[in-house]
Symmetry: C2
Subunit: 186 residues, 2 copies
Amino acid sequence: MGRPADPARRERTLARATDYVLAHGLGGLSLRPLAEALDTSPRMLLYDFGSKQELVAAVLAEARRRGAVRLAEHLPPKTGSVQERLRGIWAWISADERAPFVRLFFEVHADGLVHPENYPDQGEAITDWFDTLGAAFRDVSTGPDDTVTPTLVMAVVRGLLFDLTATGDRHRTDRALDRFAELLKQ
Amino acid sequence: MGRPADPARRERTLARATDYVLAHGLGGLSLRPLAEALDTSPRMLLYDFGSKQELVAAVLAEARRRGAVRLAEHLPPKTGSVQERLRGIWAWISADERAPFVRLFFEVHADGLVHPENYPDQGEAITDWFDTLGAAFRDVSTGPDDTVTPTLVMAVVRGLLFDLTATGDRHRTDRALDRFAELLKQ
DNA sequence: TCGTTGTTGAAACAGTCGTACCATATACTC
DNA sequence: GAGTATATGGTACGACTGTTTCAACAACGA
């Protein structure tokens, strides 16, 4: 009895809110401008998500879900040399289309350093790449439980992403990755 | 004639404000709490710095100045193997005492990605390590103008710092750096 | 039609923000 | 003392924040 609930509205809003956050960042996020960009009202955002904090949590979960999907779509190729695979990962993650994700990634990390209490699973966001990467670089690992190789590979990727996003120097960062690939081969 | 100006007050305030920002981060910085912690008033902060934006700029400049001094005090030892030098840099930069600097570093970078217009010299903060590092790792460089080696070394350090600050896993990150040092030696 | 449940708008609340204005106090020269 | 420049307190403004409150409307079953 009574009017039927419309769960699709929340999903629609969540999707568009995630777009908005990816485009504008988390830092200055405010309900009123967000609502206006989404053709809704702060009233409805709170109605659907309870509070701003819960909305942000939902948006971050959605962003991570999207990232995982995109990654799964891309990673399959396990063929080729170590260099080719490494270059493939770098080319993908450093492409302009990934820039909003990368930006949000860095923003969340930085905010997590100041307010760790808001990000109870910050560590997982780092280490959950390891299963995937460990498999992709099994031939240069020291063993099946080797976490050091994925750690180093991801550190290089993240460090170069940091450099690239700050300096915009594509040529230099590309060459540094090539250099690392050569070192790894030996 | 008239009351003499007291430039020392501004300097004192700047020093304490920098301490405060290093302790509390840039994100939620607000004049009133800052002033209270510094035993002054928002009125005086604006009197000395003109605006919040200029205050922040002054604080960031001061923080960078301090970091450069600390680095200069530490780096001199150019002796030892590549591994020893690399481990020395890592041990120093990843020490707990450097945590506030590292945190602010990541925070500024993330904010710079969202508001590039506020950080006209973001790139320099990355590349001005190169002269120092290029000299320190000359023996593994391909030439005197090699920017690839410093780029890769700093990427590893920053990437592992990212990992360490997010996961707190000292053991794994230390071992990853050792692994990189071995690769670099060959 | 009525009761019930979900949805939505408008407005207000209590708070914080950076900043400006106005008066006053302080420390100096003459 | 007067004159003058710096230093400071107090206060208020206008714009914003997340959130709440109250009312109305919409869609359904009985």
